[in-house]
Amino acid sequence: MQAFSYVSARTLSEAADILAREGDQAKCLSGGTDLIVFLREGRRSAKVVVDVKGIPELNQLSYSPKEGLTIGAAVPLHRIYDDAQVNEHYPGLIDAATLIGGIAIQGRATLGGNVCTASPAGDSIPILIAYETTCIVASRSVTKAIPLEKFFVGPGRTALQPGELLVALKLPPPTPNSGAAYLRFTPRNEMDIAVASAGVVVVLDEDKMRFVGARIALGAVAPTPLFVPEAGAALAGQPVSDEAIEAAAQAAQAAARPITDMRGSAEQRKHLSYVMTKRALLKAIERARGGA
């Protein structure tokens, strides 16, 4: 690993100053489960590593019925899935948080890191997109909000500009009669990277017999995590039925434009985007109707 210096930043402005000064040669460290591997393997380089775990804004984890959920970018996964509010209101996020790596990875890894690594297969991203997550981004001069589905510009590349860092993810409060689920397909049952995945949020009407709307996003089937509005649109206003679910799953499959690599073939991924969407929808509907 190349040599670098290390700064444990205590304030947002301290971190932003270093990022402004060093540009892309400064890298933010929170859980390090991607960054340390990338530096070790020479896939990223850094002159300075800025540890952002000590910055209060990046450590907040708060929920209110009005504001929804705020997750600081440096909050590790184990804090998220051990949080009662998240469990109650965002079960789809729990699906994802408990799938990333193993327990020892979850002790360190963060959603902020998962988002900033910007892998097309990042497990938290499809469900965060489905939850209408907004990225709160700060630099020395400005703070701005970017909808998560606009945050990714290519494999491993985000909309973050030099000098900017991700501060937090904001999820709106869940809509009544909604349900969410994240499902991924992996050959191993754990410790694996999604071959294809689907994150969905469905909103049902009061009788829970008809879709009001849905948001569906896919993982590992395109250069970036893929928001598929047309799959959600296929459900809006439809009765909850096999036909509607089938149509949405087919729309998702049609949107997928995967590649072949060591984790799966293009045909397999295309096929799995259909299967995962269908199964995630069934799970989300079950949850909207009060099931686990």
Partner: protein, 766 residues
Amino acid sequence: MTTVEVEKTEARTNGKHFKVIGQRVIRPDGVDKVTGRAQYGADVMLQGLLYGKVLRSPHAHARILSIDTSAAEKLPGVKAVITGKDLKPGEDKVAKSGESSVNYSYLSQNVLAQDKVLYHGHPVAAVAATSIHIAEEALALIKVEYEVLPPVLNALDAMKDDAPILLPNLRTRELGEVVSDKPTNVASHEQYARGDLAAGFAEADVIVEREFHTNTVHQGYIEPQNGTALWNADGQITVWTSTQGAWDQRRDLSEILHVPLSQIRVIPMEIGGGFGGKFPVYLEPLAALLSLKSGHRPVKMWMQRDEVLKATGPTSASVIRVKMGARKDGKITAAQAWMAYEAGAFPGSPVSAGMGVIFAPYKLDNVQIDGYDVVVNKPAAKAYRAPGGTNAAFAGETVIDELAEKLGMDPIEFRRINAAKEGDRRADGPVYGRIGFIETLDAIEKHPHYNAPLPEPSAPYMKVGRGVACGFWYNWDGKSSASAVVNPDGTVSYLEGSTDIGGTRASLAMMLAETLGIHYEDVKPMVGDTQTVGYNDGTGGSRTTYGSGMAAYHLGKEIIKEMKQRAAVLWEVPADDIDVEGDVYSYGDKRITFKELCAKLDETGGPMSVSVSLDTKGAIPALATHVVDVEVDTETGKVNILRYTAAQDVGRAIHPSYVEGQIHGGVAQGIGWALNEEYYYDEDGHLMNASLLDYRMPTALDLPMIEAVIVEVPNPNHPFGVKGVGEVPIVPPAAAIANAIYRAVGVRMTVLPMNPRNVLKALGKI
């Protein structure tokens, strides 16, 4: 756990029940291993230690045009840099190494490339520096100019007439002789044949013919290869390393470094798994050369995981064609196999072992097996648990299952009709001794698992099925030495030379204690090195409990002989007239225990030590029958293992827990091989999944409990009835799972791994 005792034989000592053998004692090295104190190869720390790293080829096939190490040498902290020029070429001669053989010219080129690189990850240079990070920085400063050549990445392509040639001097050994001077990638063609194949097929009512493809897989030990070497100013070389065979290493180092054996001491450290893959040298010769070049400072090296996967011996990918015929009454009338195994960069695939395995469980009158050893641009294949056996059995046992199905016979009944017994001759020549194959079939047939209804599918898109398969492994005996010091407190310090890779200090000490009639705790075992104990073949080939166990027994007998002498001195009677019963020595009404006699060593002749060296014979093959229930997700192609039961003839279980452990571990590796493990290369020959994340070995969440059924048909050639147990458990799983998948979804899988992608393809879903 179930133990089926099939028969009692003379192998039981004097017809008595064992006191120690069969107990589940605590292993003597256990406390060190659960507290983190045990010293593995990478834990070695020495004064003035330097750290070494290897520069590896980014290409699968290329000519090295030039290497410029000058910038690396100038980096502060760098103490030595070596390239292929620093290594005198190895001699073109072959020796046995562990379960396979080794040609020193090739081994030397594999350790450090000379003029060509033959696989992605092939070593081209090495550096020693004061820190691992500096060594790594130095690697980046070495400039290598390559002429990239087209790679050849599978056996069938490599066998084509116009294939790129890896080794310009290689000529095919055609049934043992070189008959053509044409450059080739086919290192050898061997054949086993008996009877009249055409007549056999003519007699058949049913014939099944299929072609199988299996991919490269790795042993996957959790401890990466390592090696620390000190080439001292007096010319003595000491190597500390994780090895299955310290004496093999000493010989290989002697040949590669061109240094006499007597100048090399190999100290085997605790070893973090091997499965056959830790016989060959990789880093040790480089560490020694770096030590010499850095002014006799010790150099420690260890691999990163991607280096382990890219450059240490995996086992062969293969193409296997099988044709078998059987009569309506279930008798197999003819069996034919064509097997091409990838050797990787240098000749030496386990194809001949695979040829022996493929039909071994069955008595066959008409049989022909052809095998080809083919070089390709992948790392040199090395032994992996029952080398070549799993792929062979995958092909053979799938076809057996299909024959049984076509004949409408139960798969176990069909196998019983054809099962080999003592006295039957195998296709590869040898006649079976007292094997226990039929006993394993009986054990599974009677087992609750085989008789339970299939589990209910967990979802509408899930299908469940049950499959059976059998397996054979040769087992090895080989050479073992041991020595002992008898202590005045009644204990025995026991020095043996078999690397303890899975509890053999315990099983060997148990056999010595049993022989001496003393408590297990009174035997203090220790693994020696090449300078402290006599020669030992390595821990491999399922030989340790057999061969080194036999040495323990004979060591015990030698101690008893000495102790009788001491009692004779004490009582002033002839030693030959002294009786020994357990730990009691007696003459008339005089009695003295082993422990009491030990207290009198000083007055009966002084200190006592004995040693033995044996070339053991008489190993008998292991056979096994496995049954597995699987659940296939027909929408994703994923296969879950629901239940697994493995019955195996172990001869005699010395320490049943570690026998079960061998079965569990072999089955788990077999499941990994069957379902997900594979080398994934891009078309240029780059290994794309060189990490434990993407190589996908099973985790705890991917496996069920595995029931090991111990069948004991004692080996009459061994004092305690032992047969090797370690390897055969990996042989049947892939076939058993393929057969279960067929019963679940009606599709015959002919590729390994049967990963979701391949299962979906077979189901016609993609």
